[in-house]
Amino acid sequence: MRLFNTMMGIACALGLGALAATALAADPVKVGSVLSLTGGASSLGDPELKTLEMMVEQTNKAGGLLGRPVALVHYDDGSEPGKANVLVKRLIEDDKVDMLIGGTTTGASMAMYPLIERAQIPFISLAGALVIVEPVKHWMFKAAHHDRMVGQRVMLDMKAKGYKTIAMLSDTSGFGQSARKEMQNVAQKVGITIAVDETFNPKDTDVTAQLAKIKNTPNVQALFVVTFGQGAVVVTKNVAQLGIDLPHYQTSGVATREYIRLSGPAAEGVRLPAPVLMVAAELPDSDPQKQLSIDYVEEYEARYKTDVSSFGAYARDAWFIWTNAVKQAKSFDKVKIREFIENTAGLPGTSGIINMTPQDHLGLDVSGLKIVTIKNGNFVIAN
């Protein structure tokens, strides 16, 4: 019995000691994240979470941030913006996070923002639409190129090639429809006529009817497909089936190796604006984006045994925008960090060189998107 008591005593002492030790070493900086890990946007949210987890580990291995370890608290919104709002409340009130990264979709980011603004926590969204930074929202920043830039990049390339009349095929998802509107605006500005404007459901198994219509419209000089994921594969295969030999453009949404693998030879010759990440090896060594992109790709693929996508890369850039600001602020004061994020200057990321201002909470221009083409099953920079 005495032995038992002694043992208990030792155990308790050890336990307390361990607790004290963790309390000393810990008190980590908390990064909160609401991502879409299930549901429609899960193929975007999944690489985002994987990247954030990898970044947390890297930062902690390098001694943490200003001497404090970093911890990630994340929730899954199931691709429903309404849920994101509830979850961010939990992050703010229960988890008491110091920083927010995430919002896989535009809907989720916008639904979360009112609560974030009230709590005054810096927030970097990973979603695509322009509305996130226009008009500028005090506490919200953006890591991804928006739809309009993708459109501009494509339309400028078309214009340079001399295509004036094009056909557009967009999907009926939120992304497809908001992007479609942006593309129509951009086309009007650069003087390109959209002669055929068709849509399809991203879950359709066949779009040859729409494509046959495009094929039989006279004077169309190029085809622009606005979609991502499975829909893009179906369209690409159908284009090959119908033998449509128009120049075929897609958006940066298909800048994944998966798209090439699933589409097979049908994807050859497709042109799209892609983040530098996909063609980093081709850049000159002097390019500041080259090494960091290659590092990210290698680490990610070695760790998760799966292809990188631009969505994960946005999470990587968001992480560096934040850590960079913390290092400059030399404190975890949220107001100071927000200011330093807003004044991020010349920070190279996978999506471009980031230069934010109080008027521009994105800090990227179209030069971060390269027009690439698919050749022998690989992305190469198009001339």
């Binding site: 899960s42 009817a209 729409q210 219509k213 994921g229 594969v233």
Partner: protein, 291 residues
């Protein structure tokens, strides 16, 4: 102009064949149990996912396809035994809600076990399209059409010529009477789930090379199959075929001649009109009240 029309028709028939396979599953389970099984789309997905997963691990294509269909059939049987049978005394509406729950579970399990990314299968006989009078069709679409037709014929023989098939029909007509003459009603129910899951999975496997498959592919196909089955008349085999083909053709022709923006709306409006004018569907039989 003719080649354009032909292209729309070929596109519509391919879509329609797929909807037919989905609709047949709905009709079969409806016949056997009076339940509309909203997990039908997930059976299609499970077949495609299982086949592409096996094929990716190096199993030869024909074996992977057969195994995919068998796995889906097994899943169908288990769903009946574990989720539907325990609730056999519940109201039909409750069972329908159970099937919605099952569809969510199947989607979630696939997402966790096999991942969120879309998967593909190689085309069965090459990707070179066949040209017919200026229109093109993929050899894979011919596979969908031919196998779909064979399944319809096979089902016809099964229900018309075999003892078990007749047992299923008898159960559909009057469960108590069938039980009285010695039909094992429980078996019939399980069988109907296995069969409809298997038929759906055949469609899933055949369509995967064209459209790829992901954990959430089933929802849309299931919904379209339900529309096709209702359009043709729930519970009617020929109705499922007619409804499926009709739906596919209408979709393709709407996309081609009117606007693709209305492609998904027109079929639903049509269903509405058909059901108002002919509640039993195009080829369904009028329900008669016994006195």
């Amino acid at each position: 102009m003719l080649s354009e029309l032909l292209q729309f028709i070929l596109s519509g028939v391919t879509l329609g064949a797929m909807y037919t396979l989905s609709a047949l599953g709905f009709s079969m389970i409806y016949n056997a149990s009076g339940v509309i099984n909203f997990a039908q789309g997930e059976f299609i997905m499970v077949g495609g996912m299982a086949a592409s997963f096996l094929s990716a691990t190096g199993v030869p294509l024909p074996m992977a396809c057969v195994a995919g269909v068998m796995i889906a059939g097994l899943v169908g049987g288990l769903v009946e035994r574990w989720a539907v049978a325990p609730a056999r005394d519940a109201e039909v509406a409750s069972v329908i809600i159970i099937t919605i729950g099952v569809s969510m579970i199947l989607r979630g399990l696939t997402e966790i076990l096999l991942g969120k990314r879309p998967h593909a299968l190689p085309h069965f006989s090459g990707e070179a399209p066949i040209t017919v009078l200026g229109a093109t069709i993929l050899p894979q679409s011919l596979w969908v059409l031919v196998v779909g037709a064979l399944i319809v014929l096979g089902l016809n023989l099964f229900f018309g010529r075999t003892r078990i098939g007749k047992g299923v029909l008898a159960t559909a007509y009057d469960r108590l009477a069938a039980q009285l003459v010695g039909v094992d009603v429980r078996r019939v129910l399980t069988l109907s789930f296995v069969l409809s899951a298997g038929i759906g999975a055949v469609g899933g496997v055949l369509i995967t090379p064209i459209s790829t498959v992901a954990y959430d592919t089933g929802m849309m196909l299931g919904l379209k199959g339900f529309v096709a089955a209702t359009l043709g008349g729930l519970g009617s085999g020929p109705g499922a075929v007619a409804g499926g083909l009709f739906l596919g053709l209408i979709e393709a022709l709407t996309a081609g001649y009117i606007s693709s923006a209305y492609k998904d709306a027109v079929p639903f409006v049509l269903v509405f009109i058909v059901l108002v004018l002919r509640p039993q569907g195009l080829l369904g039989t009028k329900p008669t009240d016994r006195i």
